[in-house]
Amino acid sequence: MARKILYQDAINEALDQEMARDDSVIVMGEDVVGGTGAGGEMDAWGGVLGVTKGLYGKYGDRIMDSPISESALVGAAVGAAATGMRPVCELMFIDFMGVCFDQIYNQAAKFRYMFGGKATTPVVIRTMYGAGFRAAAQHSQCLYNIFTHVPGLKVVMPSSPYDAKGLLIQAIRDDDPVIFCEHKALYATEGDVPEESYAIPFGEANIVREGDDVTIVALGRMVRFATKAAEALAADGINCEIVDPRTSSPFDEDTVLESVETTGRLVVVDESNPRCSMATDISSLVSQKGFGFLQAPIEMVTAPHTPVPFSGALEDLYIPSPDKIEAAVRKTVAYGN
């Protein structure tokens, strides 16, 4: 039975159902429980935004708080994965990847390859990303592109509660290391989610909206903004097809190319900074493999090449908006006319 629940509850439900199903699934992170060693309550936080609340009561020592030491924490998750557990480790903010990146990209990502196929590292690193909370430069970035670059990692960014639950279940069941990116501004959004467990395959884009005129490829929170823009454009008779890749690694090239083959026009929407990003990656892909389909240059709608500003007035300018997406679509439609 599907019912409306929040994105963050969908994540909680995925963790709960997988922990119930498989006792090798463990959860670790800073304050994922909260209260460890303190005089007050246990499960005081259940995660800084409450995403993991309630799991401690059910699973006890299979969910554990850690000191603030990301290298050791993430490394421990990787080592536990290599020795038979299925850890889901929380890297509280994707911005903190700098303090533990080695364990992710030099260790976890490369074990299988370096060890000649003889290691299995089924670790999931859940991490919060994205701007919009006035959390400023070191707590608001969109860095999935950096993980995408690394062979050996899989990278996931669900845009809806339904996708969040199904992709996290898939991530936990997947035997490769997965970076699971949760946009903090999506936590409070609602959607229909089945009560039962289900897994969405990686590398399969979702066509959120069908249309013949322009293809919009959007990631994470940008899917919702693209949808708003598409509704406004439909009133003017411009019908957009919105493709949500769901996973940047593996990436569903075929669906994007098929869509551009029909529409001939592409707008890529990505909250990251523009250099060496998913936006440039997707644009390059379509330029190379779909050159003949294009009737207009590809448009990218991204953040500027700046850190995330603190001031709300500036942060709102930083984040790609439905208006900016609409303008980009109109630009591709107007090209040549």
């Binding site: 039975m1 339904y162 039962e196 289900y198 395959p201 399969e204 066509i207 075929d254």
Partner: protein, 370 residues
Amino acid sequence: MSNTAITAITMPKWGLSMVEGKVIEWLVEENTTIAVGDEIMDIETEKIANTFEALDSGVLKRKVAEPDQSLPIGALLGVLAESNISDEDIDTFIEDFQANYSPPEILEGEESETSYEWVEIDDYRIRYLRMGEGRRNIILIHGFGGDLDRWLFTQGPLSANASVYSLDLPGHGQSTKAIRDGSIAAMANIVTKFIDHIGVDHAHLVGHSLGGAIALQTTISDPDKVDALSLIATAGIGVEINGSYISGFVQAESRREIKPLLQQLVGDPSLINRNLIDDILKYKRLDGVTEALETIATKFMDRDQQTIDLRNHLASLSIPVHVIWGSADQIIPASHAKNLPGNVNVDVLEGFGHLVQVEAAGEVNKLLQS
């Protein structure tokens, strides 16, 4: 004051959850004479796209709705009238209608979910939907990989003068997914218990595809419980079956894989829209579904052949038996409807595919009610 010579054509409600439909295109011109059952418009909804068949007759005096327009259920699509009615009268009719029309209120959570009912049978939690009140009791049984929404265009119309039930078989829809015994006999047993559950002595069973084989088996095992049998594109009375459709459907994981398979179910591939595909993918991703489908498939077929054969039982049935098929069925060939014993009523509808109760809903509903 409404003129009884003028009739409004309004957006139909297909299934419980439909709140609006989008006009794809008109299939008739203004000033054409329409008979009941004529195809007048293609409509797309959240669940499916289908052709709207006229519920009334008359001359199509005015088209009101335009292609690509989305309208709530009950909204005015067009106006039928006797040919001598003036344009001014039509204008007045339209004005009056629009002034008095308001779309039905959609309350949070009001829709579908609260109307479904549940029953435990043999440790399976079975979802079902009841519509209508009447002397007769009809039970609609879907086929392999389907659910009670296969009867979206059937249950409403039939419920005008009967109590009509549709259910999700185990492994399907929202019923329990884990299957112990996937045999036709086990499924038939569940249907028998369902008849008991709804508190009637007997019912008219309508089964589609595998559901037809299940309905037939129920009739064979418990003849007292079945007062009439309608078998639509049924399994169980012939050898051939499209094995690659079945195994493809079971294995498919992506939109790309499943879309061409689903298109084999119908004569008109445009019926298979994104929402339908999404719903089926969401169903297939649920834990236990692939295993359930595999379990059931092994019990009624092997590669390209059906392994159950109930054809011989038809001749000895004393209740009314009706076999309905689409001539262009790509899953189970319509040839199985040939050479059936004399007590069986047979109707093969030209040009329609396996999901004939969806594609030719008006005609099939008429046949089921006769």
